[in-house]
Amino acid sequence: MLIYAVCGAGIGTSVLLKSNAERALSMLGIEAEVKAVSIEEARGTNKMAQVVLATPEILDQLEGIPAEVIAINNIFDLGELGEKLKATLS
């Protein structure tokens, strides 16, 4: 499974989101590849992820992409990340 962690620039928020999503996934025992990408990369890629993680403010920029989009409010909260990933993936 491929998961995108998305932010405006693809180097800050998304990188933090990626590393904490990986930790949350490993706590859940779910195997997945998480990639940090910019909005443009998330919209322009052929290899689409199944799940996209982003902060709420950029959700409308991700409208229409063929993936399940999850909004994360607190990217340092492994509990929130784990719960939302679990709800979407199971």
């Binding site: 405006g8 180097i11 928020t13 709420p56 403010e57 607190n74």
Partner: protein
Amino acid sequence: MLSSYFAAGSIVTQEASPSFEAAVSQSVSLLVESGKAQANYVDEVLESLKVLGPYFVIAPGLALAHAKPSDAVIQPGMALLKLATPVASGSANDPVSLIFSMCSPNANDHLDMLGDFGELMSTENVMNSLLNASAQSVIAEILFKKRFN
């Protein structure tokens, strides 16, 4: 070590800021003052805020202002402006009192920095301690892991 990315003088505490935009501008300017980025990086971050909204308010009370890697960045760096009176950004995580900023010249040189930052901020009590801290010296101790191990 996170401490190697914060130049001397790049953690500032103050009472308040007139707006979130002003706070972001001030925080990013700390990167410029400490030689991590050139002045136009401030404009790039403000432009990103204008176009995308306050998406870099990534946790309750905390922003991580940044823009894409560009020629305006000299080396990876971080800075922090801590406001005693939080400011509204328009994000669900309002109000914001910790305005971090970061810069990187490319997509790789800052990964260790963000790894350390993410790990620290996910550690229990770190976020609350930072939100409640008012002294610059206490904030530095928390960030540089002299309080939480």
